[in-house]
């Protein structure tokens, strides 16, 4: 069974997630702050950490930065009510394998945890929208053009995610296998994390000013 650590400062929310996921995964531990979470994750070495983007003593980014180098096997899935692009992009850039909103259904959350544990990427519609916006068409060709731009297929997959389609539905629509869809999303995640374009960060910050 997949071992999961919950990091969220809202006790009530943790209880809810525990109730929803309890049957499908093993909740190995819970933390309500960065200070609690870092030693706990180091000690438990779980498969997946469900990580709130906003924590009282820092963001989910801080947890990832402190843990990831020592525990490369731990996968992070960001979970947030935040609508702010810089938070979402920030936590993904720090190393999270996906981002879902807290309104996600328990069935979908279970599926997302499973997917992240398997090494795939999980994009919520909101994250897909942010990424499409950040990697706008006609973006300049930088040092590494392959990393700076999305392929038309990746764009297509992301757009369908943003429109609320599931991987299986996207695969059927585009006549691809689910594995191929997952590969496209993972490729986008890699570009998101490795792209050196300063624009990405600037975009995320400027977006708040609109």
């Amino acid at each position: 069974m997949i071992r999961v650590v919950l990091v969220d400062d809202h006790e009530l929310f943790r209880a809810g997630v525990r109730g929803e996921l309890g049957a499908a995964v093993e909740i190995a531990g819970e933390a309500g702050s960065v200070a609690e979470a870092v030693p706990l994750i180091r000690e438990l070495d779980p498969d997946v950490v469900l990580l709130d983007v906003h924590l009282p003593d820092g963001g989910g980014e801080g947890v990832i930065a402190a843990v990831a180098p020592e525990r490369p096997g731990v996968k992070f899935l960001a979970l947030s009510v935040s609508d702010a692009a810089e938070d979402v992009i920030g936590v993904i850039r720090a190393g999270a394998r996906g981002y879902v909103t807290k309104t996600i259904s328990s069935e979908e959350l279970t599926d997302a945890v499973q997917r992240v544990a398997d090494g795939d990427a999980v994009f919520s519609p909101r994250l897909a929208g942010f990424v499409l916006d950040a990697f706008r068409e006609g973006a300049r060709v930088g040092d590494d053009a392959e990393l700076e731009n999305l392929t038309p297929r990746e764009r297509e997959v992301l757009q369908l995610i943003a429109r609320g389609y599931r991987y299986k539905e996207i695969a059927a629509r585009l006549h691809l296998s689910v594995k191929t869809v997952e590969a496209h999303v993972s490729s986008v995640l890699r570009k998101l994390q490795l792209s050196s374009r300063a624009e990405l960060t600037r975009w995320a910050h400027e977006r708040r000013l609109i």
Binding site: T101, T103, S105, S124, P125, R126, A128, G129, F130, L132, D133, R136, E137, Q159, A162, R163, G164, Y165, I210
Partner: protein, 356 residues
């Protein structure tokens, strides 16, 4: 027949040298009577114009004898112009034009829709124009086309007014359709909700209060409200639909635009699409995606619900045809609905950005 505006003028009963005309005019204009008398004396030197004008005002007598007064004023003008050295032909020409206008004024002719100018007025003005033009030496090759152009203008003028009126009428009908769609989206929906929940007093009261707020804001306020960007507007709409129907709406955006009037139909159509999904799809979650790129603004409203067959939608359900498709068409955009029984529904709304 148009009434010639009456000049509020009465001869003075006390400040009089001859008939009290100068005194009366002075008090009407609020100037010194001596100044008025001086002007009349100077005008009298100009071919007797001042004397004729004096008599004109005398007989005018506060609008009681308009026509003799007008004739005398015309005579005064003619003698003044002649005295100033204008040739008889020029005076005759301009006199004819003025007479043409006078006919229009008194006969009530109009260049507005459905109206036409009295033939007499057209003839007088054309004759006057020809006289003046001929006198100042314009070549005949110019006068001919000029006369034709003038005649065309006078004949076609009313026709153009007619066209304009029809356009105004069309705009009015479109606005009416917009109002009808709006009422359907809001008031009729609320009334339907109230009927369905008539046992639940708290709910009914909340729904009614909310509708009142909305209607007030639409009638007297800023229309779309406090939202500044299109994404805000969609978020507000989504919150409303979530409140009303207890569904969950996930909003994703790529790009955004400042919310202005041209985007309002898009927000309203999207709202209606969300409402339809909430009411009929039986899905508990609706996805809304806004994409604003260089050329188009697109909004996708997608649910994974029961779907429907377009052919089986009753004709009296205005939501889809009017509030979504009609509204997008009127604002220069398009609406595409993809649905099939059991396969969910997606409504794609697009608006070309160049129209903004």
């Amino acid at each position: 027949m148009t009434q010639i505006p009456v000049l509020p003028f009465e001869r003075s009963g006390h400040d009089r040298v001859l008939a009290g005309v100068c005194g009366g005019l002075a008090s009407t204009l609020g100037v010194d009577a001596t100044l008025v008398r001086l002007v009349f004396a100077l005008l009298a030197l100009a071919g007797g114009a001042g004397i004729l004008l004096y008599f004109a005002l005398w007989v005018y007598d506060d609008g009681r004898r308009t026509w003799p007064a007008a004739a005398l004023v015309a005579a005064a003008a003619v003698s003044l112009l002649l005295a100033l050295g204008f040739s008889g032909t020029a005076v005759l020409g301009s006199g004819l034009i003025v007479a043409g206008f006078a006919v229009v004024l008194t006969r009530g002719g109009s260049v507005r829709q459905g109206g036409s100018l009295p033939v007499l007025a057209i003839v007088l003005m054309m004759a006057g124009a020809l006289t003046v033009l001929g006198h100042i030496g314009t070549s005949r090759s110019f006068i001919g086309p000029g006369a034709v152009a003038g005649a065309l203008l006078l004949v076609l003028g009313p026709w153009f007014w007619q066209l304009r009126r029809e356009r105004v009428e069309r705009i009015r009908l479109e606005e009416r359709a917009e109002v009808a769609a709006r009422i359907h989206d809001s008031v009729l929906q609320t009334l339907a909700l109230i009927q369905r929940h008539s046992q639940d007093a708290a709910r009914v009261s909340a729904v009614a209060r909310r509708q009142e707020r909305e209607l007030r804001r639409w009638l007297y306020g800023s229309g779309v409200g406090a939202a500044v960007t299109l994404a805000d507007g969609l978020a507000d709409a989504a919150a409303d639909v979530e409140d009303l129907y207890g569904v969950r709406i996930e909003l994703a955006t790529a790009g955004d635009l400042p919310l202005d009037e041209s985007l309002e139909p898009l927000v309203l159509a999207a709202r209606e699409a969300m409402t339809n999904a909430a009411k009929f799809s039986a899905a508990d979650e609706i996805s809304v995606y806004l994409e604003a790129d260089g050329e188009n603004v697109a909004v996708f409203v997608h649910d994974r619900g029961v779907g429907f067959d377009r052919a089986s939608v009753p004709a009296d359900r205005r939501g889809l045809a009017e509030s979504i498709e009609g509204r997008m068409r009127r604002s220069g955009g398009t609406a595409a609905v993809t649905s099939a029984p059991g396969a969910g529904t997606e409504v794609e709304l697009t608006l070309p950005r160049s129209r903004r």
